[in-house]
Structures are given as C-alpha cells and as structure tokens.
C-alpha cells in the first residue's frame, strides 16, 4: 500500500499508520488488516495531529528515521502513531510534566523502544537537554499560558536547520474569557517573529477552540 503522506495511509476518510508492533493496541484504536500488515486508525478525537490530518494537513515533516522532540507527550496516544511513522530507526524524545500520564507512557515505551520517556518541565530545556539531541521535528501539545514562548525556546535549542515544528494551541488555556480568534491571531504573531508558518489549521469540532500550526525556523 502506498502512503498518502510520509508513513501515513488513507482509508476512506480515516488516516492510519502501519503498526510497528502488531497485535498491541495503545488506546482502543481501530485496526485494519491487509495481509500480514496491521494499520492502526488514527482517532481524530483523541489526537490533535490526527484531527489536523482530517482537517487537511498535508505536511508533517515526519519521515522514516526522523528524530522528534515531543513536548507534552502525555500517555502516548499521538506518540504511538508518530512512533509508527519514524519506525525503529527513528527516535521520539517525549517530554511530559505529569507523573500520572508518563506512567502510562512508560508501558508504551517498553514495546516501542524508539520512545524516550522524559519526566520534565518543557519550560526548562536545560533540565533535559543532556538526554536529547538535535531533532528533525519539534511537536508541541501543552496546555499552558506561555505555550508559544515554550515552543520557540525549544525549537531554537533543539531543531535542526530546515526542520519542522508543529504546535497545537489551546485558546482556553491562554485566556478563558477572550475570543479564541483573537488569541490565535495574537499567538500567530508571536510565532511569526521566529518562524515561517507553512500551515495554519483550526481543529474544528474534533478539538474545540484549538489551532494547529506547522512552522519552519526563519
């Protein structure tokens, strides 16, 4: 089967990744079998990258063998699909602040050894820098007020030249009372100071009041 985007396959309106560890489900995702291959259907309601694909995302910057820094990896739902895409030769450095979430991720990382679970504060890259390396892709999904600043700081420190940085912005965690449109415009401006924005997608009904940006460092 041919991939629609690097490592990402399309089945009707659904997107899926070719499972690196067949027979093991990460969340209760649907499985499509084609001969010996198992494709794990990407649930747009449980993964913001999955939602972005459904909303028309064309470029992810992810490829087989890519190195990824994932800030806010949580329990590894989205990460499991990225893990499929980058494969055994790729690496995901997964930074998460919540001990509860990373407890689940540890189990995922046991079978998917390309995931490196790091319990640390994404706000302070100095604390985990010695365990990571320069990466091709930075992916961020953290619900923090200063998420754009955190994103810029990490991309500047860890992103290789020409690498891609993706961020899911949650308007409600920046200011609950402000109109999301206004917040997205304001965050976009912050990002544009350091990045060229390639894609700008709203996640629509999959994730209310969320925007998704794909950027390249200037």
């Amino acid at each position: 089967m041919k991939a629609t985007i690097d490592g990402i396959y399309r089945f009707g309106k659904d997107f899926a990744t070719l499972s690196m560890v067949p027979k093991y489900k990460i969340y209760d995702e649907k499985i499509i079998r084609k001969g010996k291959d198992e494709y794990r259907v990407w649930d747009p309601k449980k993964s913001k990258l999955g939602a972005a694909l459904r909303m028309g995302l064309k470029e992810t910057g992810l490829f087989e063998g890519a190195k990824v820094l994932y800030l806010g990896i949580a329990n590894g739902t989205t990460a499991s699909h990225i893990s499929d895409i980058v494969g055994p030769r790729g690496v995901i450095y997964g930074v998460e602040f919540s001990p509860r979430s990373i407890r689940d991720l540890l189990l995922v990382a046991k079978r998917r050894t390309n995931i490196m679970p790091i319990l640390s504060d994404a706000r302070i890259p100095q604390r985990f820098a010695s365990r990571v390396e320069k990466v091709n892709v930075v992916y961020q999904d953290i619900a923090q007020k200063d998420q754009s600043a955190i994103f810029i700081r990490n991309a500047e420190t860890f992103l290789k030249k020409g690498g891609i940085a993706m961020i899911a912005i949650k308007a409600r965690s920046i200011d609950v009372t402000e109109n999301p449109k206004k917040i997205f415009a304001q965050e976009k401006q912050k990002l544009q100071a350091k990045f060229n924005i390639i894609t700008d997608i709203k996640l629509g009904h999959f994730e209310v009041d969320h925007a998704f940006f794909v950027c390249k460092l200037k």
């Binding site: 001990p99 540890l106 790091i118 890259p125 010695s130 365990r131 390396e133 860890f158």
Partner: protein, 348 residues
C-alpha cells in the same frame, strides 16, 4: 579562554569556544546509567573532577551546561550544541556502543529508569489524602443513590419505618442488622406493607448490608483523613479543620502546587462559577469559596465575611508554605495567635 563542559548519555565532553574538543570522559555501557544520573545532579562527581583534572584549567574558566555548585553555567553552550548534533555518531566512534541501534536501546532504558525514579519520588503522602477525599465524595453519592432504591424496595414490605427513620444512613443500618418488621416494632402487624416471605426479606437485607458497608467506609476514611491531614499539614490544621484542609488540598492536586498559589486563589477556590461570571463582567466578585466551610467565616456577620475570608486565605497560604517547605510545628501556633488577633481587630 573559557572551556565549556556538557553532559551526554555516553559521557562528559569539554570544548573550547571555537568548537574544538579538548577532552572527554566516556562512560562504560555497563555502568553508564548510574554515572549519568549522578552527573546530572548539581554536586561535582568523580567524573566531573576527572575531566577538570584532564583539562588542567582553573575552576572559574570552566562553564557547565547544567547547574553545578561553584561553577558558572550557560545553556545551551557550544559543547552541548556540538554533542547534540552528533550524539549517535559519537557513541559509535568513541566505542561506547557498536551501532546506533544499541545506542538508542540504551537511551530508552536510561530515560525509562530516570523516569521511574522520578515517578517514585512524586508518589508523596499528599496524593493518598487527595484520593481519600475524592473517594469519600464518590462513596457518598453512590451510597445515597443505592439507598433510594433500597427505600423503595423496603417500602413494599414495611413503609411505616420510612416515616419514622428519615436519615438514609440510619435506615440502611437498621435494615442491614434486622429487616423483619415484627422485630422492629410491636404494631408491625398493622403495617400496610405486603406479607413477604423470609427469602424476600433476606434478599433485601443483603443489599442493605452492602450500602451499610459504604457508610461505614466513609466514617473510616474520614477518621483516616483527619489523622493524615494532621501529619501532612500540621500548620494548616491549626488554622482550619483537617477536613477543610484536605478539601483544599484535593481541589488543587498537591501540597507543592497549593504552597505556590497566591492567597487570592485560595480565597475563591471552589467558587469558580461565580468568579468567571464576575470576570466576564456579570456579577459581583465572590468573597469566598471552599473556605466558607470554616466556622470563622460562616458564623460571622455577613458584612464581615469578606474581610475575614481575605484574612483567612492569607494566613492559610502562609501555613501551606510552612507545611510544604518546612514542617516546624511552632510556626502554626504563632500564626494562629496572630490570626485570632486580626479577627478580633476587625470586629471593632
């Protein structure tokens, strides 16, 4: 000229400002995890000392990438940048591993181990308290739901008892210990309830026993929470009851977080609906949230409550800080004394 040192999963590296490698210490794969974890701390390890000795430089000319006691630090520094650009190649060329696959296998184990250690450290006593508080809430609502069903069921057999015993908890405990109406009252023969067999009544009793167990469990948990709260929050519990202290803690999620909250947040916590209504510009600002449960506030005159809430919140936030950062017991007494005086003052 400064020398820049960085730590990597395979060892320590020193570079000069032009990006030339001056020296390195490469761990052995067998003991690398322990040496890396040690070197991540702020204390100088044998490996750090070994590298500095190799360099033969004065301490004030050495810049680390992480914080090290007595040394300067810069993040990111040229050493870290260079190493992070080629780490998998370096791991092979220095002989640390045979190939990239082996390096990433090691890195996965290293990161998993460090994460496991941190998770263990994060499993503190306050977490237990928080779960106990939430469990009580869930048990209470579940037990009451089940009790309503029991009432309807038992009402078929002996509705007069429901009239006499209003409290769910008491009723459940009565039915659980002996549901037979002739044992509960002399005039049971006059009951308008149906005449059911022993088997029917026992089925009902078994159900009541389970609900009764829940009510008992709530009592046990309450006692447990009080005891635990006194231990974990000795200062806060001088100011408010252990129950309220635990509720506040459960609302926030950890002692660390609550110790770092501004007292204004503590003051209105639990009144979020009113607070956001106010922020949106509709309605007055709430004076108090959960802390309203403290008698010093709910037993005060209405016009005093705002002032008292502010006072209580600020005192509590100091007390939470004492409990999190330093558990000195005398602090709480002094705080309580001052608080009482302040309350006395605003009375006049």
């Amino acid at each position: 000229m400064y020398t820049y040192i960085s730590l990597a999963p395979i060892g320590l590296f020193a570079y000069d400002a032009d990006g030339k490698q001056l020296a390195s210490i490469i761990f052995k794969l067998d003991d690398a995890k322990g040496r890396f974890i040690d070197a991540s701390g702020s204390e100088l390890t044998e490996d750090d000392k070994g590298l500095i000795k190799k360099l033969g430089k004065k301490d004030d000319q050495i810049i680390f990438e992480i914080q090290k006691d007595g040394f300067g630090s810069e993040f990111p520094n040229i050493s870290g940048e260079t190493v992070r650009n080629n780490i998998s190649k370096l791991a092979i060329s220095t002989g640390f591993v045979k190939d990239a696959g082996q390096y990433y296998q090691y890195l996965n184990e290293l990161n998993s181990e460090i994460t496991r250690i941190s998770i263990k450290a994060a499993s503190t006593e306050d977490r237990l308290l928080i779960h106990a508080v939430s469990t009580i809430d869930e048990l209470e609502s579940t037990a009451n739901t089940l009790a309503i069903r029991l009432k309807e069921w038992y009402g078929l057999y002996y509705p007069e008892l429901l009239e006499r015993v209003r409290s769910n908890e008491k009723l459940v405990s009565l039915i659980a210990s002996n549901p037979k109406r002739e044992d509960l009252s002399d005039d049971a023969g006059l009951s308008m309830g149906g005449d059911y067999s022993d088997e029917d009544v026992i089925a009902l009793q078994n159900y009541a026993i389970i609900i009764d167990g829940m009510y008992r469990q709530i009592k046990d948990l309450e006692a447990y929470i009080d005891k635990k709260a006194l231990m974990i929050m000795p200062n806060v519990t001088r100011i408010v009851s252990p129950t309220l202290a635990s509720r506040l803690l459960a609302e926030v999620g950890s002692l660390e977080k609550i110790a770092k909250l501004p007292s204004s947040t503590l003051q209105v916590m639990g009144a979020e609906k009113a607070l956001f209504r106010h922020i949106m510009g509709q309605g007055p600002s709430p004076k108090h949230g959960l802390i309203f449960q403290a008698p010093v506030i709910n037993q005060a005159q209405k016009k005093q409550r705002g002032k008292r809430s502010r006072m209580l919140a600020s005192t509590l936030s100091i007390a939470f800080r004492m409990d999190y950062f330093d558990k000195c017991l005398t602090g709480g007494d002094l705080l309580k004394e001052k608080f009482d005086k302040k309350i006395e003052n605003i009375k006049g």
